[in-house]
Amino acid sequence: MKAKFIALIPLMVMIILALILLVGIKLNLNKPIFKALIGKEVPAITIRSIISHKELAESINDKPDYVLHFFTSWCEYCLVEHRKLVRMAKRNNKIPIYGIFGRDSEENIKLMLKKNGNPFKDVANDEYGEISIDLGVNGIPETIIVKDNKIVDRFKGEIDEKALNSYWEQ
């Protein structure tokens, strides 16, 4: 009897998993996954900046509208987006952009900024990936637009320049 019961466990686990997934997909089918977390409040970003050496939250300093850009120096597509951000920052310096990198060294990042220009108000090292995990960033480059301390839009990969600008023109 006991053996029979144990043999049932894998089936039970599988059925429960399947139900959770099916219900989950049904609820979220119309919500594109990559737009997840929209509306969520951004937690205090306590990682340290490599430029001002302050905590990024301090650097953001209660101005609730800003852009977070996740990148690294070794990622080709990040470089493409980086140049785009540099161009944008030159044209419209009202948008405060904060850079966050992980899996990379400070020297590499500083070199990258020196070489390609720095569109960021401040740059911080997400060494242990906490901020990426909190904000659900699972690929780079990724850009998150924050208004009123809440996520209003996010771009995985290529930044939609028009959409980004529109948030600052309203």
């Binding site: 053996a3 029979k4 043999a7 049932l8 894998p10 089936l11 599988m14 059925i15 998993l17 399947a18 959770i20 997934l21 099916l22 219900v23 989950g24 997909i25 609820l27 979220n28 089918l29 919500k31 594109p32 996954i33 990559f34 997840a36 977390l37 969520k40 120096s73 070794w74 080709e76 470089l79 899996r103 060294s105 020297e107 590499n108 070199l111 070489k115 242990y128 990936g129 990426s132 995990i133 659900g136 960033v137 699972n138 690929g139 995985k156």
Partner: protein, 637 residues
């Protein structure tokens, strides 16, 4: 015309599969029918893959799949490989490999004809589900109108020979796992588990394991050479999803041996075979469904996700349901001596299954969470370093201990004391040469060396090398059983792999810098001087080739030529790193940027000590599997 024939061919394959499932159910008629239907499935699925490849070769851009992934100027080999470097084509390749191994099973299996037909009926069910997926939600023959003049090209990162080979090898491993799956399910249905069944299945289990090992190895060597970040494993969910079936297949290879030798753990082995195949399905779909975003995935279509999930759930519930109803009838209960190789296999399974659960949690949980809540989270390298690595260390030491344990051995304590102290001395020697590392790295080195020295010592003892008699030793070498040799080869491969991974990921260093003609950059005792830049035009890309003259401690090493390639069609660039690899270390240059205005380049230099051990270890490991598959006579197990 081509897409029409391709689609027709797919539909005929589906009809063959459906009839192979249904006809034996409704009539007691000729059992051989299933065999013929399986041949039909193979011919027509191969036909449609052939047509897709032909579409790629002649660049028929009315097929949307070709338009999105190919271009006229691409070299032929990447046109062909382009057929499976995308979602739709890769699933078509998967199903073709499944049809191929069904044919091999039909011809070479030694089971009775009735069982063979029943097993192929189950295989047809798997086949039908995937062919249905291809036809209804993931059709590679979708048309595009009006026909474009030129294609969008293939992601340049994927234009690499290692990557052209990586999916077929990995997929071959995945589909091979379906044979033990279906066979063991059949034995559950029949309520019979003869010992010979485990012996027959051992070849398939070994094939699964060997091809998975080769596939994963090819994938990670591609990542090392091509991605330009100097690493080889990222704990990316996609990589993890290939590691899951590998871990289970490793457990299965071992537990099936216990079934063959002692007739125990039968139920567990059946469950492992089911899990291995389910993990293989999951591996294929996680990568190809667009659920995961990384270099591997291309599409994000909720319809596909739902189909895949339903298909997976049906297969899982059928198989686990049969298991729940019928298991428990087989095998005997025997008391195992705690200090025996059999007990070792038990621990091996415990460890590997724990590793599987660890990875499964790290990979599946974020996806599950994302689906349920609509939010996304991610699990980083930190999780795996804290969980996976410590368990693996234990596994290595247990492996070294239990695979060399002997029943009639009274100098037991001395032997393991010797191995332990030898490994400790090795670690101390290494720590003298390579100081400044975390305790876990030294522990990992110890575990790897413990396994290696235990295996080598055992081999030496077997061939009685201490008697210093060449002819005797040679006789002993010839007299060793092939299954022992296979075990020895794989375990030594594993040890070398573990040592290599530890060394290469602990004592690596790197530097970035800007170089102009004539200037140099230093890293440790290496100096790299930029001699010149050259512009090369190759049919589908333009490359800037940097000529770097490299010296190590003043001695010439030679010219290394990293490249930056600009793919015109795809509007993207890749960097080709240049690697100088000697046994002791890899010196790796990747060029991240070229600025034409001041004729300078941005380079990154890496040193990865003992990187070659990783590839040597992986090759030996796979060779062990293939050796066992091809040369170990099944009856001698």
């Amino acid at each position: 015309m081509l897409p029409f024939i391709g689609n027709l061919s797919l539909i005929i394959a589906l009809i063959f599969a459906a009839s192979a499932i249904i006809i034996p159910l409704i009539s007691q008629g000729p059992t051989r029918f299933v065999g013929n239907a399986v041949i039909g499935q193979f011919i027509f699925s191969a036909g449609s893959l052939g047509i897709l490849i032909y579409g790629y070769i002649i660049s028929d851009f009315c097929i949307s799949n070709v338009y999105h992934n190919s271009h006229i100027s691409k070299p032929l080999i990447y046109k062909i490989a382009g057929a499976w470097a995308n979602h739709e084509g890769s699933i078509l390749l998967w199903v073709n490999l499944l049809a191929m191994i069904n044919i091999i099973f039909l011809i070479f299996s030694k089971l009775d004809i009735y069982s063979r037909m029943k097993i192929l009926q189950l295989q047809s069910l798997i086949f039908a589900g995937i062919i249905g997926f291809i036809i209804f939600v993931s059709n590679p023959f979708n048309l595009i109108e009006p026909t474009p003049i030129s294609g969008k090209g293939l992601n340049p990162l994927l234009q690499d020979i290692g990557l052209a080979m990586h999916p077929p090898a990995l997929y071959l491993g995945y589909v091979c796992s379906s044979v033990p799956f279906a066979t063991f399910l059949w034995s559950l249905i029949k309520k019979e588990f003869p010992q010979t069944l485990a012996i027959h299945m051992h070849s398939w289990i070994l094939a699964t394991w060997s091809f998975l090992t080769i596939g994963i190895g090819l994938g990670s060597s591609w990542a090392y050479r091509e991605l330009g970040w100097g690493g080889f494993w990222f704990w990316d969910p996609v990589e993890n999803s290939s590691l899951m079936p590998w871990l289970l297949a490793t457990a299965l290879v071992h537990s099936n041996l216990l079934v063959i030798k002692r007739g125990i753990l039968v139920n567990w082995t059946i469950l492992l075979a089911i899990f291995t195949f389910l993990a293989s399905l999951l591996g294929t779909f996680l990568v190809r469904s667009g659920i995961l975003i990384s270099v591997h995935s291309f599409a994000n279509d909720p319809k596909r996700g739902v189909y895949i999930l339903c298909y997976f759930t049906i297969i899982a519930i059928i198989s686990l349901g049969i298991f729940a109803l019928r298991s428990g009838n087989f095998g005997t209960r025997k008391q195992l001596s705690l200090l025996s190789q059999e007990a070792g296999i038990f621990f091996n399974n415990l460890y590997l299954f724990t590793l599987f659960i660890t990875i499964c949690l790290g990979t599946i949980y974020p996806i599950l969470y994302q689906y349920i809540s609509g939010n996304s989270i991610s699990v980083g390298e930190g999780y795996y370093v804290k969980t996976f690595i410590p368990i693996t260390l234990g596994l290595l030491i247990f492996c070294g201990f239990f695979s060399t344990i002997r029943h009639k051995n009274n100098n037991f304590t001395i032997k393991y004391l010797f191995i332990t102290s030898f490994s400790l001395v090795f670690v101390m020697a290494i720590s003298y040469q390579y100081p400044k590392a975390s305790i876990i790295s030294y522990l990992a080195l110890f575990a790897g060396m413990f396994l290696l020295s235990a295996m080598v010592l055992d081999y030496f003892a077997k061939i009685e090398i201490h008697k210093c008699d060449m002819t005797l030793t040679l006789d002993k070498v010839k007299g060793l059983s092939r299954s022992y040799n296979a075990m020895m080869i794989s375990h030594i491969g594993l040890a070398i792999l573990a040592i290599g991974i530890t060394m290469a990921s602990t004592w690596d260093h790197e530097i970035d810098g800007e170089l102009k003609e004539g200037t140099t950059l230093k890293l440790a005792n290496y100096t790299a001087q930029l001699k010149g830049l050259e512009l090369k035009k190759i049919h589908n890309y333009v490359a800037v080739v940097a000529d770097l003259y490299v010296e190590k401690s003043g001695n010439e090493i030679g010219h290394l030529k990293p490249e930056q390639r600009f793919y015109n069609v795809e509007k993207s660039q890749t960097s080709e790193s240049a690697i100088h690899s000697v046994f002791l270390e890899d010196f790796y240059i990747s060029m991240s940027e070229f600025s034409p205005s001041n004729n300078s380049i941005l380079v990154r230099l890496f040193i990865r000590p003992f990187m070659s051990l990783i590839w040597i270890g992986a090759v030996i490991l796979s060779f062990g599997g293939l050796y066992s598959l091809l040369f170990v006579p099944r009856r001698s197990l």
